[in-house]
Subunit: 435 residues, 2 copies
């Protein structure tokens, strides 16, 4: 039986999952690939802490070179995360003729092109199913069985921390800050949750989804990125009353040769399957011209689920190595020279429906002035609610028909300067017209 | 660019979808595979009817041999359906060294082993993503990125006709017979709907899911199969009042080395994502030991969605042919000699919760006698409802805790013989304890 030796860089939570999976399911993987996997070496700065998994027979080292320069190792699993030294190590593994499997969305969103080009030059593969949606095999499906489709839309709930927080805000009517605090206590949010709650992690994942769906390079800086820190309990409550739920979505759309690429809190109808994705679960919904809408749902994080995707990629490599080939499919699913650079649509030009919440003083004529200003900018109102409040300040909520983002921003700038407006108005985009 | 010539057997709805897809998206497929696909020949007994798609440049013939014996054709797409002549044609294509892509679940559920063995002997591939869940790429995911998992459960809503009927019964409180009639008028049910409504089509698909999930041959006769014809508006209504919906599920479970393999109407909690799969949509939910629960959702039928899966398989073949290899992965995702024959658990031994509806005369002591008989057979009652009705006959509904099917059947046989029981009692199994 063909022996395939693996080296692991990074022995954190997912690394421990990989060790556990290889220990428990190696014989199953042999039944499916005809190959015998063995994890030869793990490199991590900390090789003494007990990760709760047996490392019998595995060499532990603090020196990554013992993985990167070992001629016996043909597959390097990179689970360090972040940009450096992950980038340097990945490039060195590739230069040394090793295939690379990674869960590192940050690395690929920023240095993907450099890494893919190096892999091409070396004739090795770079696989990264675990980088988006944890255990959900969505990238493989886009590159694989759904490859005959032109995709028009991809929507993803791909950050478990944000979805956990928004789910609890929805279920408990609680405030962002208090839920975040309890999420940190329960381990559902990092001590420094910035990357998650500001939408950066979601933007990294959207970057990869866009590249695979549309065969394009994407500059991370072009992705509009708005996190969930300004979502209030009040907005969640109003969303409910209009039949919506608020989710942090990664949104990619193909529109006349331009791509919409945006991450922001979004209201979706509560009877959409995506609205029922609760807690730390993830889901990705794609629309292809032939397959129509398809949704994938599962655990977006966690040591076991993510290890499933990592080793799923290793299974793919095993089958190629068993057949004596490499790179039957390029990293993005397109023949390398066909990966283009599509333009990203400027955010001001996107068209959406909007939920807008104004905080106005309770004076006669306020509504007329707001409506007048919106109308002057071509924004048509679908519905309006003015709640009676005990204080002098009333929230006025307006749901618009489709409008251009730039018009919304201009109108809100104008309205916020009115003397009857108490504070900066807020808005949330709505997605309720999915095929 | 590598040229790959395709022959198509069967020019029905899905065949027309394949022709349309290849016409519209061939250049996209070239960008993803580096190969140029061309549909050379279509064989069908009827080559005159207009299918609404252009066949310019494609040879139409009534003689399947012009596909099967054409040395230029390397991929045969079989979309005739049914057992014969599909089996003979598939075997001949294989014998002639052609890869076979099919959407024919009936063929593979019954003659799969013969076809897989022939393909192995000829060194060609048999791919059949379109056979389960239409466009949903679930089989590829089981064989591919989720391959490192031992699966414990697979649940599928995989028949659009049944799901359409049950959805309308749920939404409208309508009767099976009237909804079926209207489904036939709208084209959502065949003129002879037996295969669909009796659960046979679902059993065919379960057969394939079981083989891929558990690496086992399955004799179709061993799958318990109960359709939806006896689901009444009353049951749908009671289900609702208990917080459940009724779905026709394909159920596969691994249980101590034995497999549960059953198709039957099933009550699932209405807040399960599976309960929100409406109309002709399909969904498959799997649980793997590492990936945890994963759900795939999309269009389970239709010319376009099914064509997406068929050509997705062709893309897979293109990539193999481009790399000069074949059979990097065997048809069931396991190395052929590792496909075993697991025992199917006898239906009497399965353990489930049950919904039971009795039709009793409104006499004192009826409930006590029913409860006594259930208790004597070790069946514990979770809840009970006795509706007040205007007639002398009352429905008594009992939800049980987990019980053995054989005990349920024995107890019901006993109870149905009581003089206070008006008609044969009915029961529906419940799945509400999913991880």
């Amino acid at each position: 039986m063909k022996q395939i030796k693996i080296g692991l860089l990074g022995f954190g939570t997912i690394g421990a999952g990989v060790v556990k999976l290889l220990k428990e399911n190696s014989s199953l993987i042999s039944e499916k690939t005809g190959a015998q996997l063995s994890l030869k070496t793990i490199a991590d700065l900390d090789i003494t802490t007990d990760r709760g998994v047996s490392t019998d027979g595995i060499k532990l080292t603090t020196n990554a070179d013992e993985v990167l320069s070992d001629p016996e190792i043909s597959v390097v699993i990179e689970l360090i995360g972040g940009y450096e030294p992950a980038r340097t190590f990945a490039l060195k593994a590739i230069a040394n003729g090793k295939h690379v499997v990674t869960a590192n969305k940050a690395l690929l969103a920023v240095h993907g092109q450099e890494i893919y080009a190096a892999a091409k030059a070396s004739g090795v593969e770079v696989l990264f199913e675990a980088a988006v949606g944890g255990g959900i095999p969505v990238l493989s499906a886009i590159k694989g069985n759904m490859a005959a489709n032109r995709f028009s839309t991809v929507l993803g709930i791909v950050n478990g921390t944000c979805n956990y927080i928004l789910t609890r805000m929805t279920q408990e009517g609680a405030d962002f800050t208090e839920v975040l605090k309890s999420a940190q206590e329960f381990g559902y949010a990092e001590a420094d949750p910035t990357f998650d709650i500001e939408g950066v992690d979601t933007a990294h994942k959207l970057c990869l989804l866009l590249s695979l769906c549309f065969g394009t390079k994407v500059d991370l800086k072009d992705i509009y990125c708005e996190g969930i820190t300004s979502v209030s309990a009040e907005d969640v409550d109003f969303a409910k009353s209009f039949g919506y739920r608020i989710k942090l979505l990664a949104i990619g759309k193909m529109d006349d040769g331009q791509i919409e690429a945006r991450v922001h809190p979004t209201m979706i109808p509560s009877d959409y399957p995506l609205a029922d994705v609760h807690g730390v679960f993830n889901a990705i919904r794609l629309t292809g011209d032939f397959v129509g809408p398809v949704m994938f749902y599962g655990r977006g994080a966690g040591m076991d689920a993510t290890a499933s995707a990592v080793i799923g990629d290793v299974v793919d490599l095993c089958r190629n190595m068993g057949a004596g080939i490499s790179r039957r499919c390029a990293p993005l699913g397109y023949v390398d020279e066909k990966v283009g650079t599509l333009a990203i649509k400027p955010m001001g030009e996107i068209v959406s429906k909007y939920y807008i919440r104004f905080q106005a003083f309770d004076r006669p004529g306020v509504l007329a002035r707001i409506a007048g200003s919106l109308g002057a900018h071509g924004i048509s109102i679908a519905s309006m609610v003015q709640s009676a409040r005990s204080t002098d300040i009333v929230p006025i909520v307006i749901m618009t028909h489709e409008a251009r983002e730039e018009d919304i921003r201009t109108a809100l700038g104008e309205i916020d300067a009115f003397d009857v407006i108490r504070a900066k108005s807020t808005f949330i985009r709505i997605e309720d017209n999915l095929e």
